[in-house]
Protein backbone atom coordinates (compact mmCIF):
# COMPACT_ATOMS: atom_id res chain seq x y z
CA UNK A 1 0.00 0.00 0.00
CA UNK A 2 1.23 3.47 -0.90
CA UNK A 3 2.38 5.66 1.98
CA UNK A 4 -0.44 8.14 2.46
CA UNK A 5 1.21 10.30 5.10
CA UNK A 6 4.83 10.82 6.18
CA UNK A 7 4.09 9.77 9.77
CA UNK A 8 0.83 7.86 10.02
CA UNK A 9 -0.62 4.65 8.60
CA UNK A 10 -4.04 3.93 7.09
CA UNK A 11 -5.90 2.98 10.28
CA UNK A 12 -4.66 6.08 12.11
CA UNK A 13 -5.68 8.28 9.18
CA UNK A 14 -9.12 6.62 9.03
CA UNK A 15 -9.68 7.82 12.61
CA UNK A 16 -7.93 11.20 12.62
CA UNK A 17 -7.72 12.76 9.14
CA UNK A 18 -9.98 15.74 8.44
CA UNK A 19 -11.32 15.81 11.98
CA UNK A 20 -8.91 17.75 14.18
CA UNK A 21 -10.58 19.20 17.31
CA UNK A 22 -13.06 21.98 16.58
CA UNK A 23 -11.12 25.29 16.58
CA UNK A 24 -13.77 27.20 18.51
CA UNK A 25 -14.93 24.77 21.19
CA UNK A 26 -12.30 22.03 21.23
CA UNK A 27 -15.10 19.48 20.69
CA UNK A 28 -13.40 16.12 20.14
CA UNK A 29 -16.15 14.42 18.12
CA UNK A 30 -16.39 16.49 14.97
CA UNK A 31 -19.41 18.84 15.24
CA UNK A 32 -22.41 18.77 12.92
CA UNK A 33 -22.48 22.27 11.44
CA UNK A 34 -26.18 22.29 10.71
CA UNK A 35 -26.30 25.68 9.01
CA UNK A 36 -27.19 26.99 5.57
CA UNK A 37 -25.14 30.20 5.55
CA UNK A 38 -22.12 31.87 7.17
CA UNK A 39 -21.72 35.55 8.12
CA UNK A 40 -19.23 37.67 6.21
CA UNK A 41 -16.81 39.88 8.20
CA UNK A 42 -17.52 42.79 5.85
CA UNK A 43 -18.35 43.51 2.21
CA UNK A 44 -14.75 43.06 1.12
CA UNK A 45 -14.57 39.64 2.81
CA UNK A 46 -17.77 38.60 1.04
CA UNK A 47 -16.34 39.74 -2.29
CA UNK A 48 -13.10 37.81 -1.71
CA UNK A 49 -15.06 34.65 -0.95
CA UNK A 50 -17.31 34.96 -3.98
CA UNK A 51 -14.24 35.62 -6.15
CA UNK A 52 -12.56 32.42 -4.77
CA UNK A 53 -9.68 34.60 -3.57
CA UNK A 54 -9.78 33.47 0.04
CA UNK A 55 -10.81 30.16 1.68
CA UNK A 56 -14.05 30.36 3.62
CA UNK A 57 -17.69 29.39 3.76
CA UNK A 58 -20.50 31.11 1.87
CA UNK A 59 -23.44 28.75 1.58
CA UNK A 60 -23.80 25.04 2.35
CA UNK A 61 -24.71 24.09 -1.22
CA UNK A 62 -21.04 24.73 -2.02
CA UNK A 63 -19.17 24.01 1.20
CA UNK A 64 -19.95 23.14 4.83
CA UNK A 65 -17.43 22.39 7.63
CA UNK A 66 -18.78 18.90 8.44
CA UNK A 67 -19.01 17.95 4.78
CA UNK A 68 -15.50 19.37 4.22
CA UNK A 69 -14.13 17.19 7.03
CA UNK A 70 -15.52 14.14 5.24
CA UNK A 71 -14.06 15.33 1.94
CA UNK A 72 -10.62 15.68 3.50
CA UNK A 73 -10.82 12.28 5.21
CA UNK A 74 -11.79 10.53 1.97
CA UNK A 75 -9.16 12.40 -0.08
CA UNK A 76 -6.55 11.41 2.50
CA UNK A 77 -7.48 7.73 2.52
CA UNK A 78 -7.41 7.51 -1.29
CA UNK A 79 -4.10 9.38 -1.47
CA UNK A 80 -5.80 12.17 -3.45
CA UNK A 81 -5.36 15.94 -3.53
CA UNK A 82 -8.97 16.84 -2.77
CA UNK A 83 -12.50 15.53 -2.55
CA UNK A 84 -16.03 16.68 -3.30
CA UNK A 85 -18.79 14.99 -1.36
CA UNK A 86 -22.20 14.60 -3.00
CA UNK A 87 -25.75 13.64 -2.08
CA UNK A 88 -25.39 10.10 -3.51
CA UNK A 89 -23.07 7.83 -5.45
CA UNK A 90 -24.99 8.56 -8.64
CA UNK A 91 -24.54 12.29 -8.09
CA UNK A 92 -20.82 11.62 -7.68
CA UNK A 93 -20.66 9.91 -11.09
CA UNK A 94 -22.30 12.87 -12.80
CA UNK A 95 -20.24 15.39 -10.84
CA UNK A 96 -17.03 13.52 -11.76
CA UNK A 97 -17.78 13.79 -15.47
CA UNK A 98 -19.26 17.30 -15.41
CA UNK A 99 -15.95 19.23 -15.75
CA UNK A 100 -14.81 16.83 -18.50
CA UNK A 101 -17.82 16.33 -20.77
CA UNK A 102 -19.75 18.49 -23.23
CA UNK A 103 -22.53 17.73 -25.73
CA UNK A 104 -21.27 15.35 -28.43
CA UNK A 105 -18.38 14.08 -26.30
CA UNK A 106 -17.88 10.42 -25.34
CA UNK A 107 -17.11 8.49 -22.18
CA UNK A 108 -15.88 4.91 -22.58
CA UNK A 109 -17.59 2.75 -19.98
CA UNK A 110 -16.95 -0.82 -18.82
CA UNK A 111 -19.98 -3.07 -19.42
CA UNK A 112 -19.82 -4.75 -15.99
CA UNK A 113 -21.31 -2.10 -13.74
CA UNK A 114 -24.04 -1.50 -11.20
CA UNK A 115 -27.31 -1.64 -13.20
CA UNK A 116 -28.25 1.89 -12.12
CA UNK A 117 -25.02 3.23 -13.58
CA UNK A 118 -25.68 1.47 -16.89
CA UNK A 119 -29.07 3.23 -17.03
CA UNK A 120 -27.66 6.60 -15.94
CA UNK A 121 -24.86 6.60 -18.48
CA UNK A 122 -26.54 4.69 -21.29
CA UNK A 123 -29.88 6.51 -21.19
CA UNK A 124 -30.03 9.67 -19.07
CA UNK A 125 -26.67 11.05 -20.21
CA UNK A 126 -27.97 11.06 -23.78
CA UNK A 127 -30.27 13.89 -22.70
CA UNK A 128 -27.13 15.96 -22.00
CA UNK A 129 -25.65 14.90 -25.34
CA UNK A 130 -23.04 12.82 -23.52
CA UNK A 131 -22.43 9.51 -25.29
CA UNK A 132 -21.50 6.46 -23.24
CA UNK A 133 -19.66 3.82 -25.28
CA UNK A 134 -19.84 0.44 -23.52
CA UNK A 135 -16.95 -2.00 -23.93
CA UNK A 136 -15.92 -5.40 -22.55
CA UNK A 137 -14.68 -4.89 -18.97
CA UNK A 138 -12.27 -7.81 -19.26
CA UNK A 139 -10.51 -6.59 -22.39
CA UNK A 140 -8.23 -3.52 -22.13
CA UNK A 141 -7.78 -3.69 -25.93
CA UNK A 142 -11.51 -3.04 -26.32
CA UNK A 143 -11.05 0.22 -24.41
CA UNK A 144 -8.15 1.17 -26.67
CA UNK A 145 -10.18 0.48 -29.81
CA UNK A 146 -13.06 2.62 -28.56
CA UNK A 147 -10.92 5.76 -28.16
CA UNK A 148 -11.83 8.58 -30.59
CA UNK A 149 -11.15 12.31 -30.88
CA UNK A 150 -14.30 12.86 -28.84
CA UNK A 151 -13.32 10.65 -25.88
CA UNK A 152 -13.11 12.69 -22.68
CA UNK A 153 -12.97 10.00 -19.97
CA UNK A 154 -12.87 6.27 -19.26
CA UNK A 155 -15.13 4.98 -16.48
CA UNK A 156 -14.81 1.61 -14.72
CA UNK A 157 -15.80 -0.04 -11.46
CA UNK A 158 -13.01 -1.58 -9.45
CA UNK A 159 -14.40 -4.91 -8.16
CA UNK A 160 -17.46 -4.58 -10.38
CA UNK A 161 -21.02 -4.91 -9.10
CA UNK A 162 -22.83 -7.32 -8.80
CA UNK A 163 -19.65 -8.96 -7.69
CA UNK A 164 -16.63 -11.13 -8.13
CA UNK A 165 -15.13 -9.23 -11.09
CA UNK A 166 -11.68 -7.65 -10.72
CA UNK A 167 -10.77 -5.11 -13.37
CA UNK A 168 -7.24 -4.78 -14.75
CA UNK A 169 -6.72 -1.24 -13.46
CA UNK A 170 -3.13 -0.82 -14.56
CA UNK A 171 -3.80 -1.92 -18.16
CA UNK A 172 -6.83 0.36 -18.52
CA UNK A 173 -4.98 3.27 -16.88
CA UNK A 174 -2.34 2.87 -19.58
CA UNK A 175 -5.02 3.15 -22.29
CA UNK A 176 -6.39 6.32 -20.66
CA UNK A 177 -2.93 7.79 -20.35
CA UNK A 178 -2.16 7.16 -24.02
CA UNK A 179 -5.53 8.63 -25.00
CA UNK A 180 -4.82 11.73 -22.89
CA UNK A 181 -8.05 11.43 -20.89
CA UNK A 182 -8.69 10.81 -17.19
CA UNK A 183 -9.48 7.32 -15.89
CA UNK A 184 -12.40 7.49 -13.46
CA UNK A 185 -12.67 4.51 -11.10
CA UNK A 186 -15.68 3.68 -8.95
CA UNK A 187 -14.00 2.22 -5.86
CA UNK A 188 -17.18 1.63 -3.83
CA UNK A 189 -16.86 -2.16 -3.55
CA UNK A 190 -13.17 -2.22 -2.63
CA UNK A 191 -12.89 0.96 -0.52
CA UNK A 192 -9.43 2.51 -0.12
CA UNK A 193 -8.70 -0.05 2.61
CA UNK A 194 -8.48 -2.83 0.00
CA UNK A 195 -7.28 -0.91 -3.07
CA UNK A 196 -6.23 2.63 -3.91
CA UNK A 197 -6.76 3.13 -7.66
CA UNK A 198 -4.43 6.19 -7.81
CA UNK A 199 -1.55 3.80 -7.13
CA UNK A 200 -2.36 2.08 -10.43
CA UNK A 201 -2.73 5.24 -12.52
CA UNK A 202 -6.36 6.31 -12.04
CA UNK A 203 -6.96 10.08 -12.17
CA UNK A 204 -10.32 10.36 -10.39
CA UNK A 205 -12.05 8.06 -7.91
CA UNK A 206 -15.77 8.02 -7.12
CA UNK A 207 -17.62 6.25 -4.33
CA UNK A 208 -21.07 5.61 -3.14
CA UNK A 209 -20.22 6.38 0.52
CA UNK A 210 -23.57 4.76 1.34
CA UNK A 211 -21.90 1.35 1.28
CA UNK A 212 -18.83 0.15 3.23
CA UNK A 213 -17.57 3.67 4.04
CA UNK A 214 -20.51 4.74 6.18
CA UNK A 215 -20.96 1.03 6.72
CA UNK A 216 -24.28 0.64 8.48
CA UNK A 217 -26.80 1.31 5.74
CA UNK A 218 -28.01 4.59 7.23
CA UNK A 219 -26.67 7.51 5.15
CA UNK A 220 -26.89 7.94 1.38
CA UNK A 221 -23.91 9.80 -0.07
CA UNK A 222 -21.11 9.93 -2.62
CA UNK A 223 -17.73 11.48 -3.28
CA UNK A 224 -15.41 12.41 -6.16
CA UNK A 225 -11.70 12.41 -5.33
CA UNK A 226 -9.05 13.98 -7.57
CA UNK A 227 -5.50 12.65 -7.69
CA UNK A 228 -4.22 16.13 -8.55
CA UNK A 229 -2.03 14.52 -11.24
CA UNK A 230 -3.93 15.09 -14.50
CA UNK A 231 -2.40 17.88 -16.65
CA UNK A 232 -5.32 20.30 -17.17
CA UNK A 233 -3.22 23.43 -17.74
CA UNK A 234 -3.31 24.46 -21.41
CA UNK A 235 -5.22 21.27 -22.30
CA UNK A 236 -7.73 22.17 -25.03
CA UNK A 237 -9.74 18.97 -24.45
CA UNK A 238 -10.87 20.30 -21.08
CA UNK A 239 -11.84 23.95 -21.51
CA UNK A 240 -13.77 24.01 -18.20
CA UNK A 241 -10.46 23.87 -16.37
CA UNK A 242 -8.03 25.30 -18.91
CA UNK A 243 -9.80 28.46 -20.14
CA UNK A 244 -11.03 31.57 -18.27
CA UNK A 245 -14.33 31.35 -16.37
CA UNK A 246 -16.28 34.58 -17.00
CA UNK A 247 -18.35 34.29 -13.81
CA UNK A 248 -15.17 34.25 -11.73
CA UNK A 249 -13.69 37.34 -13.39
CA UNK A 250 -11.79 35.44 -16.04
CA UNK A 251 -10.06 33.15 -13.57
CA UNK A 252 -8.59 29.99 -15.16
CA UNK A 253 -8.91 27.16 -12.64
CA UNK A 254 -5.83 25.22 -13.81
CA UNK A 255 -3.65 28.34 -13.62
CA UNK A 256 -4.91 29.82 -10.36
CA UNK A 257 -5.27 26.62 -8.36
CA UNK A 258 -2.68 24.27 -9.88
CA UNK A 259 -3.32 20.74 -8.61
CA UNK A 260 -6.34 21.94 -6.60
CA UNK A 261 -8.10 23.03 -9.80
CA UNK A 262 -10.44 20.07 -10.26
CA UNK A 263 -11.62 20.10 -6.63
CA UNK A 264 -12.09 23.88 -6.62
CA UNK A 265 -14.10 23.66 -9.85
CA UNK A 266 -16.22 20.85 -8.42
CA UNK A 267 -17.32 23.06 -5.54
CA UNK A 268 -17.40 26.47 -7.19
CA UNK A 269 -19.18 25.39 -10.37
CA UNK A 270 -20.36 21.75 -10.33
CA UNK A 271 -21.96 21.76 -6.85
CA UNK A 272 -23.02 25.39 -7.20
CA UNK A 273 -25.00 24.58 -10.35
CA UNK A 274 -26.04 20.94 -9.97
CA UNK A 275 -26.80 21.35 -6.27
CA UNK A 276 -26.29 17.67 -5.37
CA UNK A 277 -24.90 18.54 -1.94
CA UNK A 278 -24.71 16.14 1.00
CA UNK A 279 -26.37 17.09 4.29
CA UNK A 280 -24.10 17.77 7.29
CA UNK A 281 -25.95 15.05 9.21
CA UNK A 282 -25.17 12.39 6.61
CA UNK A 283 -21.57 13.58 6.43
CA UNK A 284 -21.25 13.20 10.21
CA UNK A 285 -22.66 9.67 10.15
CA UNK A 286 -20.23 8.78 7.38
CA UNK A 287 -17.27 10.35 9.23
CA UNK A 288 -18.06 8.14 12.21
CA UNK A 289 -18.45 5.09 10.00
CA UNK A 290 -15.05 5.52 8.35
CA UNK A 291 -13.29 5.46 11.73
CA UNK A 292 -14.04 1.71 11.92
CA UNK A 293 -13.65 0.96 8.19
CA UNK A 294 -10.41 -1.07 8.57
CA UNK A 295 -11.89 -3.30 11.29
CA UNK A 296 -15.10 -3.88 9.41
CA UNK A 297 -13.44 -4.57 6.07
CA UNK A 298 -11.21 -7.26 7.60
CA UNK A 299 -14.29 -9.04 8.95
CA UNK A 300 -16.37 -8.46 5.80
CA UNK A 301 -13.58 -10.01 3.72
CA UNK A 302 -12.91 -13.02 5.95
CA UNK A 303 -16.62 -13.76 6.33
CA UNK A 304 -17.19 -13.25 2.60
CA UNK A 305 -14.49 -15.69 1.56
CA UNK A 306 -15.66 -18.33 4.08
CA UNK A 307 -19.21 -18.09 2.74
CA UNK A 308 -17.99 -18.32 -0.88
CA UNK A 309 -16.00 -21.46 -0.02
CA UNK A 310 -19.05 -22.98 1.65
CA UNK A 311 -21.33 -22.23 -1.30
CA UNK A 312 -18.88 -23.69 -3.79
CA UNK A 313 -19.38 -27.13 -2.18
CA UNK A 314 -23.20 -27.11 -2.20
CA UNK A 315 -25.16 -29.36 -4.55
CA UNK A 316 -27.81 -26.69 -5.27
CA UNK A 317 -25.19 -24.15 -6.35
CA UNK A 318 -24.11 -24.02 -10.00
CA UNK A 319 -21.22 -21.63 -9.61
CA UNK A 320 -19.77 -18.98 -7.27
CA UNK A 321 -18.18 -15.75 -8.55
CA UNK A 322 -15.79 -14.56 -5.85
CA UNK A 323 -12.29 -13.42 -6.80
CA UNK A 324 -10.85 -14.99 -3.65
CA UNK A 325 -11.67 -18.50 -4.92
CA UNK A 326 -8.97 -20.28 -6.89
CA UNK A 327 -11.68 -21.33 -9.35
CA UNK A 328 -12.30 -17.66 -10.23
CA UNK A 329 -10.91 -16.31 -13.52
CA UNK A 330 -10.17 -13.15 -11.52
CA UNK A 331 -8.10 -14.91 -8.82
CA UNK A 332 -4.72 -13.63 -10.11
CA UNK A 333 -5.96 -10.06 -10.70
CA UNK A 334 -7.44 -10.17 -7.20
CA UNK A 335 -4.07 -11.09 -5.70
CA UNK A 336 -2.45 -8.21 -7.58
CA UNK A 337 -4.93 -5.42 -6.88
CA UNK A 338 -6.67 -6.57 -3.69
CA UNK A 339 -4.09 -8.52 -1.66
CA UNK A 340 -5.87 -7.84 1.65
CA UNK A 341 -9.14 -9.39 0.45
CA UNK A 342 -11.55 -9.23 -2.47
CA UNK A 343 -14.50 -7.75 -0.64
CA UNK A 344 -17.72 -9.27 0.60
CA UNK A 345 -20.11 -8.66 -2.29
CA UNK A 346 -20.32 -11.51 -4.77
CA UNK A 347 -22.76 -13.61 -6.76
CA UNK A 348 -23.62 -17.25 -7.15
CA UNK A 349 -25.95 -19.19 -9.41
CA UNK A 350 -28.64 -21.44 -8.00
CA UNK A 351 -29.81 -24.55 -9.83
CA UNK A 352 -33.31 -24.05 -11.18
CA UNK A 353 -32.90 -20.48 -12.53
CA UNK A 354 -35.26 -17.56 -11.89
CA UNK A 355 -37.81 -19.48 -9.76
CA UNK A 356 -35.13 -20.97 -7.49
CA UNK A 357 -33.59 -17.52 -7.12
CA UNK A 358 -36.85 -16.08 -5.82
CA UNK A 359 -37.40 -19.11 -3.55
CA UNK A 360 -33.96 -18.60 -2.03
CA UNK A 361 -34.82 -14.98 -1.13
CA UNK A 362 -38.03 -16.06 0.55
CA UNK A 363 -36.32 -18.79 2.59
CA UNK A 364 -33.52 -16.83 4.33
CA UNK A 365 -34.10 -15.79 7.96
CA UNK A 366 -31.00 -13.79 8.89
CA UNK A 367 -30.18 -12.19 5.53
CA UNK A 368 -32.14 -9.04 4.68
CA UNK A 369 -33.67 -8.81 1.22
CA UNK A 370 -32.68 -5.26 0.28
CA UNK A 371 -31.27 -3.29 -2.64
CA UNK A 372 -28.08 -2.26 -0.86
CA UNK A 373 -24.59 -3.54 -0.20
CA UNK A 374 -21.86 -2.86 2.35
CA UNK A 375 -23.96 -2.99 5.50
CA UNK A 376 -22.93 -4.56 8.83
CA UNK A 377 -25.90 -6.90 8.19
CA UNK A 378 -25.75 -9.67 5.61
CA UNK A 379 -27.86 -8.77 2.58
CA UNK A 380 -29.31 -10.80 -0.27
CA UNK A 381 -30.72 -9.79 -3.64
CA UNK A 382 -31.87 -11.27 -6.92
CA UNK A 383 -30.48 -8.69 -9.41
CA UNK A 384 -32.53 -9.88 -12.40
CA UNK A 385 -35.79 -9.03 -10.62
CA UNK A 386 -34.56 -5.84 -8.88
CA UNK A 387 -31.38 -3.74 -9.43
CA UNK A 388 -30.88 -4.98 -12.99
CA UNK A 389 -34.54 -5.51 -13.99
CA UNK A 390 -34.69 -2.29 -16.04
CA UNK A 391 -32.02 -3.67 -18.38
CA UNK A 392 -32.53 -5.95 -21.40
CA UNK A 393 -31.91 -9.70 -20.96
CA UNK A 394 -28.72 -9.29 -23.02
CA UNK A 395 -27.49 -6.42 -20.85
CA UNK A 396 -28.31 -8.41 -17.70
CA UNK A 397 -26.20 -11.35 -18.80
CA UNK A 398 -23.32 -9.05 -19.88
CA UNK A 399 -23.49 -7.38 -16.47
CA UNK A 400 -23.35 -10.72 -14.64
CA UNK A 401 -26.99 -10.55 -13.55
CA UNK A 402 -28.63 -13.45 -15.37
CA UNK A 403 -31.85 -15.18 -14.15
CA UNK A 404 -30.15 -17.67 -11.78
CA UNK A 405 -27.88 -15.11 -10.14
CA UNK A 406 -28.09 -14.28 -6.41
CA UNK A 407 -26.06 -11.39 -5.03
CA UNK A 408 -24.83 -11.45 -1.45
CA UNK A 409 -23.28 -8.72 0.63
CA UNK A 410 -21.79 -10.52 3.61
CA UNK A 411 -21.99 -8.69 6.91
CA UNK A 412 -19.95 -8.83 10.10
CA UNK A 413 -22.15 -11.27 12.04
CA UNK A 414 -20.81 -14.66 13.27
CA UNK A 415 -19.73 -16.46 10.13
CA UNK A 416 -21.27 -19.77 11.30
CA UNK A 417 -24.67 -18.07 11.66
CA UNK A 418 -24.43 -16.61 8.15
CA UNK A 419 -23.50 -19.99 6.68
CA UNK A 420 -26.20 -21.79 8.63
CA UNK A 421 -28.88 -19.43 7.27
CA UNK A 422 -27.77 -20.00 3.66
CA UNK A 423 -27.58 -23.74 4.30
CA UNK A 424 -31.18 -23.96 5.48
CA UNK A 425 -32.38 -21.72 2.61
CA UNK A 426 -30.60 -23.88 0.01
CA UNK A 427 -32.26 -26.93 1.55
CA UNK A 428 -35.67 -25.35 0.86
CA UNK A 429 -35.05 -25.34 -2.93
Amino acid sequence: MKQLHPEYGFNTLAVHSGTAPDPTTGARSFPIYQTTAYVFDDADHAASLFNLQEPGFIYSRLTNPTVAALEEKLATLEGGRGGTVTSSGHAAETLALFPLMAPGMEVIVADKLYGGTINLMGKSYRKFGWNAVFVDTDNPEAFRKAVTEKTRAIFIENLANPGGVVVDLEAIAKVADEAGVPLVVDNTMATPFLCQPFEWGADLVVHSTTKFLSGQGNAVGGVVIDSGKFPWLGNSKFPSLSTPSPEYNGLTFAETFGDLAYTMYSHAISLRDLGCTQSPMNAWITLNGIETLPLRMERHCSNGLAVAKFLEKQANVEWVSHAGLESSPYFELGKKYLPEGTGSVFTFGVKGGYESGLKMLESVELFSHVANIGDTRSLILHPASTTHRQLTEEQRIAAGAGPEVIRLSIGIECVEDIISDLDQALNCL
Partner: protein, 165 residues
Protein backbone atom coordinates in the same frame (compact mmCIF):
# COMPACT_ATOMS: atom_id res chain seq x y z
CA UNK B 1 15.77 21.10 11.18
CA UNK B 2 17.70 19.78 8.19
CA UNK B 3 20.24 22.22 6.75
CA UNK B 4 19.35 23.88 3.43
CA UNK B 5 21.57 21.51 1.44
CA UNK B 6 19.48 18.50 2.44
CA UNK B 7 16.12 19.89 1.27
CA UNK B 8 14.31 17.75 -1.30
CA UNK B 9 12.63 20.28 -3.58
CA UNK B 10 10.16 17.69 -4.85
CA UNK B 11 8.75 16.99 -1.40
CA UNK B 12 9.06 19.46 1.46
CA UNK B 13 8.33 18.23 4.98
CA UNK B 14 5.54 20.26 6.61
CA UNK B 15 8.00 21.23 9.35
CA UNK B 16 10.22 23.02 6.78
CA UNK B 17 7.39 25.13 5.32
CA UNK B 18 5.86 25.74 8.75
CA UNK B 19 9.17 27.03 10.15
CA UNK B 20 9.54 29.45 7.23
CA UNK B 21 6.00 30.80 7.55
CA UNK B 22 6.36 31.18 11.33
CA UNK B 23 9.69 33.02 11.15
CA UNK B 24 9.06 35.27 8.17
CA UNK B 25 7.42 38.62 8.96
CA UNK B 26 8.23 40.67 5.84
CA UNK B 27 7.89 39.57 2.21
CA UNK B 28 8.98 41.34 -0.97
CA UNK B 29 6.58 40.10 -3.65
CA UNK B 30 8.23 40.41 -7.06
CA UNK B 31 5.68 40.56 -9.86
CA UNK B 32 2.78 41.62 -7.63
CA UNK B 33 -0.03 42.77 -9.89
CA UNK B 34 -2.24 45.81 -9.40
CA UNK B 35 -5.05 43.95 -11.19
CA UNK B 36 -7.47 42.74 -8.52
CA UNK B 37 -8.30 39.41 -10.16
CA UNK B 38 -4.71 38.24 -10.76
CA UNK B 39 -3.44 35.50 -8.39
CA UNK B 40 -0.48 37.64 -7.23
CA UNK B 41 -2.87 40.41 -6.20
CA UNK B 42 -5.13 38.28 -4.06
CA UNK B 43 -2.26 36.22 -2.68
CA UNK B 44 -0.77 39.52 -1.46
CA UNK B 45 -4.10 40.62 -0.03
CA UNK B 46 -4.44 37.32 1.86
CA UNK B 47 -0.92 37.46 3.33
CA UNK B 48 -1.47 41.08 4.46
CA UNK B 49 -4.66 39.97 6.19
CA UNK B 50 -2.74 37.22 7.99
CA UNK B 51 -0.36 39.83 9.46
CA UNK B 52 2.62 39.65 7.11
CA UNK B 53 4.24 42.88 5.93
CA UNK B 54 4.14 42.54 2.12
CA UNK B 55 6.09 44.92 -0.12
CA UNK B 56 5.03 44.83 -3.78
CA UNK B 57 7.83 44.94 -6.36
CA UNK B 58 6.80 45.85 -9.89
CA UNK B 59 8.84 47.78 -12.51
CA UNK B 60 5.77 49.44 -14.04
CA UNK B 61 6.24 53.09 -13.03
CA UNK B 62 2.53 53.78 -13.44
CA UNK B 63 1.73 51.50 -10.49
CA UNK B 64 2.16 53.43 -7.26
CA UNK B 65 0.24 51.30 -4.76
CA UNK B 66 -0.95 47.69 -4.62
CA UNK B 67 -3.39 46.66 -1.87
CA UNK B 68 -2.57 50.01 -0.25
CA UNK B 69 1.18 49.30 -0.09
CA UNK B 70 3.85 51.40 -1.84
CA UNK B 71 5.33 49.73 -4.91
CA UNK B 72 9.10 49.47 -5.46
CA UNK B 73 10.54 49.04 -8.97
CA UNK B 74 13.11 46.37 -7.96
CA UNK B 75 14.58 44.66 -4.92
CA UNK B 76 17.63 46.91 -4.78
CA UNK B 77 15.38 49.95 -4.30
CA UNK B 78 13.99 48.65 -1.01
CA UNK B 79 15.04 50.83 1.90
CA UNK B 80 15.80 47.98 4.30
CA UNK B 81 15.95 44.19 4.17
CA UNK B 82 13.09 41.68 4.02
CA UNK B 83 12.84 38.18 5.48
CA UNK B 84 11.60 36.61 2.24
CA UNK B 85 11.57 37.27 -1.50
CA UNK B 86 8.56 35.66 -3.23
CA UNK B 87 8.62 35.68 -7.03
CA UNK B 88 5.69 35.69 -9.44
CA UNK B 89 8.07 35.77 -12.42
CA UNK B 90 9.03 33.29 -15.18
CA UNK B 91 11.68 30.76 -14.13
CA UNK B 92 14.34 32.34 -16.36
CA UNK B 93 14.30 35.46 -14.17
CA UNK B 94 15.10 33.44 -11.04
CA UNK B 95 18.96 33.53 -11.20
CA UNK B 96 19.06 37.34 -11.38
CA UNK B 97 16.47 37.69 -8.62
CA UNK B 98 18.42 35.30 -6.38
CA UNK B 99 21.48 37.56 -6.69
CA UNK B 100 19.40 40.57 -5.65
CA UNK B 101 17.79 38.64 -2.79
CA UNK B 102 21.24 37.67 -1.50
CA UNK B 103 22.41 41.29 -1.82
CA UNK B 104 19.56 42.68 0.28
CA UNK B 105 20.03 40.03 2.97
CA UNK B 106 16.83 38.03 2.54
CA UNK B 107 16.69 34.73 4.44
CA UNK B 108 14.20 32.91 2.21
CA UNK B 109 13.84 32.71 -1.59
CA UNK B 110 10.39 31.46 -2.61
CA UNK B 111 9.29 30.63 -6.20
CA UNK B 112 5.56 30.43 -6.95
CA UNK B 113 3.51 27.55 -8.40
CA UNK B 114 4.90 26.22 -11.73
CA UNK B 115 8.21 28.09 -11.18
CA UNK B 116 11.23 25.79 -10.78
CA UNK B 117 14.92 26.61 -11.18
CA UNK B 118 17.40 24.14 -9.68
CA UNK B 119 20.51 26.28 -10.33
CA UNK B 120 18.98 29.37 -8.77
CA UNK B 121 17.92 27.30 -5.78
CA UNK B 122 21.43 25.89 -5.37
CA UNK B 123 22.96 29.38 -5.53
CA UNK B 124 20.53 30.70 -2.90
CA UNK B 125 21.17 27.75 -0.59
CA UNK B 126 24.92 28.13 -0.91
CA UNK B 127 24.47 31.73 0.23
CA UNK B 128 22.55 30.45 3.29
CA UNK B 129 18.98 31.15 2.16
CA UNK B 130 16.15 28.67 2.57
CA UNK B 131 14.44 27.90 -0.75
CA UNK B 132 10.93 26.84 -1.71
CA UNK B 133 9.85 26.34 -5.32
CA UNK B 134 6.66 25.48 -7.20
CA UNK B 135 4.52 26.37 -4.17
CA UNK B 136 2.34 29.31 -3.15
CA UNK B 137 2.77 30.79 0.36
CA UNK B 138 -0.94 31.60 0.47
CA UNK B 139 -1.89 28.00 -0.30
CA UNK B 140 0.72 26.64 2.14
CA UNK B 141 -0.46 28.97 4.91
CA UNK B 142 -4.07 27.96 4.29
CA UNK B 143 -3.10 24.28 4.14
CA UNK B 144 -1.15 24.27 7.40
CA UNK B 145 -3.85 26.20 9.28
CA UNK B 146 -6.54 23.85 7.95
CA UNK B 147 -8.35 26.55 5.95
CA UNK B 148 -7.67 24.70 2.71
CA UNK B 149 -9.58 21.70 4.08
CA UNK B 150 -12.69 23.90 3.96
CA UNK B 151 -12.71 23.27 0.22
CA UNK B 152 -12.23 19.53 0.56
CA UNK B 153 -8.48 19.66 0.03
CA UNK B 154 -6.24 17.07 1.66
CA UNK B 155 -4.06 19.23 3.95
CA UNK B 156 -2.00 16.31 5.26
CA UNK B 157 -2.28 17.82 8.73
CA UNK B 158 -3.15 15.40 11.54
CA UNK B 159 -3.60 17.12 14.89
CA UNK B 160 -4.86 16.37 18.38
CA UNK B 161 -5.10 20.10 19.08
CA UNK B 162 -7.20 22.98 17.79
CA UNK B 163 -5.81 24.01 14.41
CA UNK B 164 -3.20 26.76 14.18
CA UNK B 165 -0.11 27.32 12.05
Amino acid sequence: MPGPASVDHNSYPDSYIREILRNVRSIAMVGASATWNRPSNFAMKYLLKKGFKVIPVNPNAAVKKICGETVFPDLSSLSGTVDMVDIFRPAEDAPELVEEAIKIGAKVFWMQLEIRHAEAAKRAEEAGLQVVMDRCPKIEYARLTGELGWNGINTGVISNRRKRL
